[in-house]
Symmetry: C2
Subunit: 228 residues, 2 copies
């Protein structure tokens, strides 16, 4: 069975991506990061999602993005709330973490090389997050080219890396419908940028708003409890 | 004064690279990694090199490459000794750390983005390390293209990232001569892959052999003391 690395944040997108990698016929190796994010809830979700989908290989690696700061997710910058939809889709938000996907993909490449996997899944979603430069298809394509120049296997010519982005053309509603078909338990996932002390989602940050709108458009109910 | 990020390992190449960035007119921001390497000597060297060149901004960030292993530098694999020159230059050695430069450059990109720097220096050296895929000029060029797609500043079109590789066509002897001209104190640098308990270099690993050969060809004396 061919191996694939799945970048697993514990959010809705990566949980769906993991389920898709499985039906694509891969043995998934999940990779998550403790990167200096404000809270550990998303790692708890990543573990719960991996367990619920029967994944035995799940590496959580420590990296220190707080050494640089520069984002509302890794620095003392307020997470914006209740923004209108056009702002969410047009601006690069303060929750953008500089070079995060480049860093995450670099680590997935290291992991792939060590276990001799040729496939990497990342749940980027150009429709919803048009504001994030490192979610765009042209960025992903270029990273794939880089991966094939960067590695021992690429040099030896006996392997090539493919970066899979199965969600890239899907709306949040389509992702949720796909995940429900595949049996993804969205009650285990975590999307909020600024959760309450008990881990419950705020309901007002961009991530919560996009998630709630996705469930609404899919005519489904979000299993999470929003506290306010 | 324009800012530049310098990837600083504490080795001979990166110490020279730092001195070159300074004469190129940049204010250097040094970046080093505690990445699960076998010993901390190289970080002590990185600090000493930064201090000796008057660098006040030096970030040492923690990343965990041991989570994956796969290299003699991050795993329990023996470092090869006393290899002949053709083996050193032809094979991809076990001291190759999967995707290391991709990871290091990704972090330098994050740092550059946070401090609004457009320039990154890396001391790769295609002549000596032809065995490392992620030291080749075509790899570096592609990373530069990626960097300009990956970032907020790239999207906004008001900045572009340049990856500087001033050593890429130089032999080790030429690097040493250049560094001596610029006043680099090589007694502070550390190259050995497998140092003795007191931090002194082994003299037999690939890195020691390339270093010693470089000093010999430059008709200079390596200021380090080799214990055996």
């Amino acid at each position: 069975m061919k191996k694939a690395i799945i970048l697993l944040s514990g959010g809705l997108d990566s949980a769906t991506c993991l389920a898709i990698a499985k039906i694509d016929g891969f043995k998934p190796y999940a990779l998550s990061f403790r990167y200096g994010q404000r809270h550990e809830f998303e790692l708890d979700s990543a573990k719960a999602v991996a367990n619920s989908q029967g994944i035995s290989d799940h590496v959580i690696t420590n990296i220190d993005l707080r050494a640089f700061g520069g984002s509302a997710l890794t620095d003392d910058i307020d997470v914006p709330k209740d923004r209108d939809e056009s702002s969410i889709s047009e601006d690069i938000p303060v929750t953008y973490v500089p070079a995060r996907n480049t860093i995450f993909l670099s680590f997935s490449l290291a992991y792939a090389e060590v276990i001799s996997a040729n496939d990497i899944y990342i749940g980027v979603n150009a429709m919803d997050y048009s504001g994030y430069p490192d979610c765009r298809p042209e960025y992903i394509n270029l990273f794939q080219n880089l991966a094939n120049l960067a590695t021992k296997s690429g040099v030896e010519g006996n392997n090539t890396i493919t970066i899979h982005t199965p969600l890239i053309d899907m709306t949040k509603a389509e992702i949720i419908k796909k995940g429900m078909e595949l049996g993804v338990d969205y009650s285990l996932t975590h999307s909020c940028y600024d959760p309450n002390d008990d881990g419950s989602p705020c309901g007002h940050c961009d991530a919560c708003q996009l998630r709630l709108k996705g469930f609404e458009e899919a005519h489904l109910t979000d299993p999470l409890t929003y506290s306010n």
